[in-house]
Symmetry: C2
């Protein structure tokens, strides 16, 4: 059966079902509507309807500012409280039910039987693994994690990873689909707690909490430091390339060879891994691949233009609102 599984062409998807009416589920619905899809949203009960519409309407302001796809309309949204009806015509299912393992396992047991098995079901979970979620699902091959970042109608990231029983084909299909659907997909090779983005953010967050706990900084100082220091650069380049470009001609190799000893300094409470030759090479090769054939002066000029654009955009916004 699994061998003959044929997924729809990602570009042919027209009808998407979104399970869940909270900020994540409603945010997804808004995003897919803005991309021109027909969206059916499943809400648990009618009392959720007002909050759901509020989120979609709020999101729409930003989605219009980012640019709607041709034919995109909130009129293409259907609401239902019947799970079977919600997924009956779906060509893709984005599940954003509450973060409760038993609830999700039971839901995937139902969805596994309701949804044709050549349709991918993707979970917005941020804290559970698909290996756990898909445990009682009769058709787990096409289930994956597709973890967005909040707010999902604005931040492009979707972290994709399969569980033990997920097929490689479903993971690859999801990556292609999210790309077509205007997202920035990131396929992970391993199921790890927090995926990638949250782990990075959480390390920073816990260091911040330590500093506040120890009277070394206030929340105001934490935010001032980030906004005016590392964050604009990180929004443009990430962190690996930020260091690569900062080190001139030598790039990441200079960073690690010259400043490697600083990894032993108490500049955070998190101890660094040992800087082995293998780790050094992975970092250097990865950055060189991202730099491709661009000279560091070109990269630095691009960085500067980008930071100027970000700072000017924020300033313009502040001037408009004041």
């Amino acid at each position: 059966m699994t061998e003959t599984l044929e997924f729809i062409n990602p570009e042919d998807v027209r009808r998407i079902s979104c399970i869940g009416g909270g900020p994540i589920g409603a945010g997804w619905a808004a995003h897919f509507l803005a991309q021109g899809y027909d969206v059916t949203s499943y809400l648990h009960e009618p009392s959720e309807q007002q909050a759901f519409h509020d989120i979609v309407d709020t999101a729409w302001i930003s989605l219009e500012a980012l640019g709607l796809a041709e034919g995109a309309s909130r009129a293409r949204l259907t609401l239902t409280y019947d799970l079977e009806e919600a997924v009956s015509a779906a060509q893709f299912v984005q599940e954003s039910a509450p973060e409760n393992l038993k609830l999700k396992q039971s839901l995937y047991q139902q969805l596994g039987d309701l949804v044709p098995e050549n349709i991918v079901i993707s979970s917005s979970t941020s804290g559970l693994t698909m290996t756990e979620i898909q445990r009682h699902c009769s058709t787990p091959q096409r289930t994956v994690v597709g973890h967005p970042f909040n707010p999902p109608y604005l931040l492009p990231l979707v972290e994709i990873v399969g569980g033990e029983k997920s097929s490689k084909a479903a993971v690859n299909w999801s990556c292609e689909f999210y790309q077509v659907a205007g997202k920035a997909p990131l396929v992970m090779n391993k199921e790890i707690p927090g995926f990638i983005a949250t782990r990075l953010q959480e390390a920073l967050w816990r260091e911040a909490l330590h500093m506040v706990a120890n009277g070394e900084a206030t929340p105001q100082q934490i935010d001032t430091a980030l906004i005016n220091g590392p964050a604009p650069r990180m929004a443009l380049l990430g962190q690996c390339m930020a260091f690569h470009v900062a080190c001139g001609e030598g790039g990441m190799a200079t960073n690690l060879d010259q400043f490697g000893p600083a990894l032993k300094l108490p500049w955070t409470r998190l101890k660094a891994p040992e800087l082995t030759q293998e780790l050094r090479d992975r970092m250097v090769n990865g950055c060189n691949e991202m730099a491709a054939d661009r000279h560091f002066k070109e990269l630095a000029a691009e960085r500067d233009r980008g930071i100027v654009a970000i700072l000017n955009a924020i300033t313009a916004l502040q001037n408009n609102s004041s």
Copy 2:
């Protein structure tokens, strides 16, 4: 003597001396020139001159795009290889010599005698403390750390902290001066390794290195995750307010009370501090102060407008360069 010390009004500063011709020293010179100051830069030797000018010229492109102050001109730059001449007319000294403690101690010993003691001398050091640097200085009261973020002509942050012998007046004066000079000053109460911004960034960086070392992520995945996930939000709000706004009406209180247990999850290799009532209150009060009287819906709308502005600015830039 120290009681009668009278600093110049920060708004009356016209002449600045920059010590050091590397990327930080040259970047500072470019920034101050763009703000309309007369700048005298001290370079160690003539061989540094070409690289120095290259940095200033590169920086100038961005500084023009950000907007020059009236009268700002690169013609108001003077170069010298004579330390005494470099500081003879200075109303403020920004020191960006190499990160070598003995070298800096000897330099502050000289500067301490050369520069009138009502003139503030501020160090760009990122890894040393002013308590160490000022050890052999005869007039240490007016010496402080004023740590910029790279590139110093673009990122607004300056972390200010005094050493044991620095006067509170010098620290306060520096804060006022950097504000007047177009920077975002952050006065710290404690000398801690890495100050605030680098500690936050370093925690994230070390988690990234662990993930690459363990085959959990590649440098490309690290950067993709940051650029499309937490970083644009962080550039706008920092991290405390990002969580505060994400949690709706309840704000940071909801974040900590509801998701506090997640601090025990293995979402990073850095263990969180214990979430005491005191830590909780500091976080909640800090965020409430930043929110002031703005309702969370207003904050969320501001966040969305800001993220849209940042994403659109980056997209416009990419379209222009392709």
